[in-house]
Amino acid sequence: MDQPFLLYSFPRAILHVDGDAFFASVEMSVNPALKGRPLVTGQERGIIACASYEAKALGIRRGVPLREARRLCPGLVVLPSDYETYSLYSRRMFDIMLRHTPMVEEYSIDEGFADITGLRRIARAPYEAIARRIQQDIRRELDLGVSIGLSLTKTLAKLASKARKPAGLLAVPGRDIHRFLQTLPLDKVWGFGPNTVQLLAKLGLATAFDFASRPEAWAARVLGKTGREIWNELRGVSAHPVLAAEKPAQASLSKGKTFPAPSADPDYIRAALLRNVESAFIKLRRIRLRARKMAVVLRERDYGQQGLETELPRATSATHEALPAVEAMFGRLYRPGVEYRATMIILTRIEPDRVEQPDLFEDRAAIEKFKAVSRAIDEAGTRFGKHAISLGSGLFLRQGPESERSRQPERKTRLLPGETARRRLPIPYLAIRV
């Protein structure tokens, strides 16, 4: 049990920087008067998207319905999600990381990896102190708390940052990995889902250490390539390097929106789904990709959900080329009388849209027509705002259900001089009087 996996401390130094209750913390940073109060975001969905630590202390967690949360805490501050401001803070958080090292991977809006190997000399500080500086800079400049894990691989760094939340900093050098892993149950390990954990438990494993102590070949046999990678990562051997550029080609793109209140109106539900499809394809074209597969998901009021997947004859970025398949899936999924609360479209098998291999048997004229329509949608969109040209079904969106969930975030209603609903300055709106 006390045999270390490695004798070195930091042959590689990888940081995982993870925002503490990121959305809630951003709201508190923008409006300091809210500090110290139990606060949640996600009003527009009716489910908690993010809970502040004060709210977490009362048992309110991500995914809990708002009604339930209010019952637990009558004085709860409930806010609609303000993704515009969250992304601004996210951008600035990564900018601060980039001041310390050029090797920064934006993993999601509120967490990222940084490779700081070899920076001790230039920083005139040990790795742990570099991590501390990043944490302090983010606190001082953005008034945000982050937890940082420092170790040899991304998997270990991520485990380390989770271990001391909030505002924690944990360094796990090579010679301490085995001791650190003994404290970690399997379900904490990045990449082990509930099924894998069940399987490993059946095989007599309880902690991350148990897994890493098995032979590499065993891990590969039981869990395949992923198993081998996690095994190596847990033992301090990098299988996933920090990817400094923006994420490699996206694997999927999804758009989903929860209704302000559940609805059984087929026109409205269909309109909401098609609006998601329009948004997804606008984004797909903006990042110059095309998709071959689509899935449609309808969520019911009682949190059940149904989905279907269709493979298109060819990859496309044209909204109208994809619509018949979406309509067909909606037709098979929708059941009259059932109340739905959200629709979602997921595009997969995504590839760059630079070079196209036409097919001998395709209807080229129709394809060119679809492309022209999409170009027109995009051109009108840049000049007059997104969805300036949209499907007729969009008219039914107006007859949608109303509720407190329709409340807009402040950043959307209080505009700065010169701003329009569509064009905004990249500055958060601070509720501070000076």
């Binding site: 493979e311 004859p313 590839e351 849209d353 630079r354 070079v355 036409p358 097919d359 001998l360 048997f361």
Partner: protein, 364 residues
């Protein structure tokens, strides 16, 4: 069942049947090879329920009978045995004992009764073809078949017999290969069948350069009878797209090119093409063909070929693999490339009735 035969003969035939054996199946018996011994003859059969292969060989049968045993394991054992006679004895409880000089092996099998029976071809129509010629035709078209399972009808070769002509066509939608030959057909014989790619590959392996192959067909099956080998196959169901419609009827420019020279130049240039979206650009100018590949972060390649060309300058972009496929399988010295414009399909022809339609890439 008890028989004796030389290791080499057994190995050769086992290798031939084993490529048909399923790699994944829910029916365990499909991993096995059926072994039947009768009248100084040994018959091996394997199937994956789509294609079946049966081969016959001489053997000293001491006790006739039938059994099945795991094909790949049997093959790997036989492969390693010394070059000598094998004595094989299968007991009634399906245990196969293999003895070869001082080596003794026992292999547990399954009863022959559970092995799927080969389809019957009693009322089938039949036609005989020259093996060597048929094999060449399969080779010249097979690579163009689709591997995308979303259009199953394209996962094979279309075989058309009509008006004293045999036509083979394969396409994946991006390119189409067609080869044609005059044959003697019974007056009323007309047929159109699509045989799956796996069957095509087995046929190419089994067909020799001499002799004939007898093809029998029913509405959903085909059988190919060779001297000692029988291949039966399900046909791909569905309607093959109207391929005549996508063959350009006229062209603007026709350029004669040295096949091997063109192939070598494209192959070299393609070394710099990106793996995910490979493309090569062919620039046709007065008496010169330039082959250009530019891949960001990798580099660029330019190859120049002297050609006889006096037409308008043309710039065509192709997937290099699709361009090279026909050049590799053809044997003629010269090919003719027919072009219309940058977005219209190119046609590659050679003196035997062969035709290849290739859709150029579009840059968005």
């Amino acid at each position: 069942m008890k028989f004796t035969l030389s290791k080499d003969v057994f190995l050769k035939n086992l290798q031939q049947v084993q490529s048909v054996v399923s790699t994944h199946s829910t029916l365990p018996i499909l991993f096995n090879v059926l072994i039947q011994a009768e009248k100084q003859e040994l018959v091996l059969t394997a199937t994956d329920l789509v294609v079946s292969l049966r081969c016959r060989m001489e053997a000293a049968v001491k006790k006739p009978g039938a059994s099945t045993c795991p094909a790949r394991r049997l093959l790997s054992i036989v492969r390693e045995l010394p070059q000598a006679e094998l004595d094989i004895d299968v007991t009634d409880d399906q245990v196969m004992a293999i003895q070869c000089e001082s080596s003794n092996y026992k292999l547990i099998g399954l009863a022959a009764d559970d092995f799927p029976a080969l389809p019957k071809f009693d009322e089938a129509r039949s036609v005989s073809l020259d093996q060597g010629a048929f094999k060449e035709m399969l080779k010249k078209t097979g690579y163009a078949a689709s591997t995308d399972e979303s259009r199953p009808i394209l996962n094979g070769i279309l075989i058309l017999m009509r008006d004293q002509k045999l036509t083979l066509v394969a396409t994946d939608g991006r390119r189409l290969a067609l080869v044609e030959q005059d044959i003697d057909l019974p007056q009323d014989m007309q047929c159109s069948l699509v045989i799956p790619t796996k069957t095509v590959n087995e046929l190419i392996k089994a067909l020799g350069d001499e002799g004939t192959v007898k093809i029998k067909t029913t509405s959903n099956l085909a059988a190919f009878e060779l001297d000692s080998v029988l291949i039966t196959s399900k046909l791909v169901e569905g309607n093959f797209p109207n391929f005549r419609q996508v063959i350009p009827s006229q062209c603007e420019e026709r350029i004669a090119l040295d096949r091997e020279q063109l192939l070598a130049a494209v192959r070299r240039a393609a070394l710099l093409a990106s793996e995910k979206n490979p493309s090569v650009k062919l620039l046709f100018a007065k008496n010169q063909l330039k082959i250009v590949v530019v891949t960001p972060d990798v580099g660029e390649a330019t190859e120049s070929l002297p050609i006889k060309y006096d037409g308008k300058p043309l710039s065509m972009v192709f997937n290099p693999t699709y361009l090279m496929d026909p050049l590799r399988t053809l044997t003629c010295d010269e090919v003719a490339v027919e072009l219309a414009d940058e977005l219209s399909p190119a046609v590659i022809k050679c003196d035997i009735p062969f035709l290849y339609v290739l859709m150029p890439l579009r840059l968005n």
